[in-house]
């Protein structure tokens, strides 16, 4: 788990450097262009941007509207599904992971001539993980069967990222974008149940369910801070 958590941080750090370089590069290009007197100066930015994106929230699309030199709003939709067989804490499951979220942001652009921005907003979060199986397993050396599990993150989360675009053309119409940040997903809701088919006393069954619930809650808490790393291909107009 620790190794898994460190990977996004490393990627995020590398991405941050890349992003800063990209934003600087965009400014450099602009200065070079302005130096050529016979070329019409490009607009500092295009107000509307739409794009396709992929990243740690899934894949999807997004739109931004930069209505002032230093201010804009943005929205996106990301989704991703994945099925696999795995073990979470004590029990085996056929797991279905479904990521779906919609970031809604206010974008602050510190520099008029740069696409670099800081995005603050909310993530409407429908991420969930569910699993079930017909297998038997043990909790505290007691055998139970048919575990069912679901984990849901909180529905609205604070969202903070930085981002920028690298423009391929003089008119700032086509770009490769990047975004880095974090979402605080709050206290996850965990549901777990298993069948007591062995006739254990109810008190023991409850204690075992409680023990397993606590372990799963701990597992889910590892994802409270969800890294945001996105790459997008954008069209601006």
């Amino acid at each position: 788990m620790n190794r898994t958590n460190k990977l996004p941080i490393t990627i995020a750090s590398l991405g941050l450097l890349l992003l800063a370089a990209t934003a600087c590069r965009a400014d450099d290009i602009e200065e070079t262009t302005n130096a050529a007197a016979w070329t019409p100066a490009p607009p500092p930015f295009q107000p509307f941007t739409v794009g396709a994106q992929v990243g740690t929230l899934g894949y999807g699309g997004g739109a931004d509207w930069r209505f002032l030199n230093h201010l804009g709003i943005g929205a996106a939709f990301n989704t991703f599904s994945y099925d696999y067989h795995g073990t979470i804490e004590s029990a085996p499951y056929d797991i279905h992971l479904h990521l779906q979220s919609e970031p809604l942001t206010i974008n602050v652009y510190p520099w008029t001539h740069s696409s670099f921005h800081i995005s603050i907003g909310a993530l409407l979060n429908q991420n969930r993980l569910s699993g079930s199986s017909d297998e038997t397993f043990t909790i505290n050396n007691n055998t139970y069967s048919s575990p069912v599990l679901s984990i849901k993150q909180e529905a609205e989360n604070p969202y903070l990222t930085i981002g920028g675009n690298f423009y391929f053309d003089h008119g700032h119409h086509v770009s490769l974008g990047g975004e880095l940040g974090v979402v605080y997903t709050g206290e996850p809701k965990v549901f777990f149940t298993a069948q007591n088919t062995s006739g254990y006393p109810n008190s023991q069954y409850q204690a075992d369910v409680q023990s397993e619930l606590s372990k799963i809650q701990g597992y889910a808490n590892d994802f409270k801070f969800w890294p945001v790393v996105k790459v997008s291909l954008n069209v601006s107009f």
Partner: protein, 160 residues
């Protein structure tokens, strides 16, 4: 053109918000629906007329084979009367002891209703209770596995 785009953006934001609010529903209820089913055998005797081509001892063997496949622990078996009762299978929903939590328990019961023609009657007793899980009342759904065993018995024993 730009006005249209901004209207579209606002509409998209509103739709996403409505979608998120609309999807919020009680997780426990969803989970109960996921692991239980309605069944004709829920707290009701369901009669299964055994295929006349099956000898009574063969029918009993098939019955035991199916039942023990789903219920490893049987509380009572009486061969002459064809009576079988499994121990309760219990599922906890929600955190044990929490106010909104509850348990559902079911058990399989079967007996011979008629020897000629051979008819078994089968029932899944299904009950629910909130904390402290002592006051059990009838519940009109059974676990998915309970319904599976009913369907399997109808298929293996019943008149085709």
């Amino acid at each position: 053109m730009k006005n249209k785009v901004s209207v579209s953006l606002i509409a998209a934001l509103s739709a996403a918000l409505i979608l998120a609010v609309g999807c919020a529903s009680d997780q426990l209820d969803q989970q109960v629906m996921q692991v239980t089913k309605t069944s004709d055998a829920a707290n009701n005797w369901l009669r299964v007329q055994v295929d006349p081509s099956l000898a009574p001892d063969v029918a009993w063997q098939k019955l035991m084979d199916s039942v023990t496949g789903y219920y490893p622990d049987l509380e009572m078996i009486d061969v002459p009367s064809g009576y079988i009762r499994s121990v309760y299978t219990t599922r906890q929903f929600g955190q044990p002891g929490a106010k909104k939590s509850f348990q559902v328990r079911t058990r399989f019961v079967c007996t011979i209703a008629s020897k000629s023609p051979l008819v078994y009657k089968i029932k899944i007793e299904s009950e629910e209770a909130g904390p402290p899980y002592l006051d059990w009342t009838q519940f009109n759904r059974v676990f998915n596995q309970d319904q599976q065993v009913i369907e399997e018995l109808q298929s293996r024993l019943g008149v085709k």
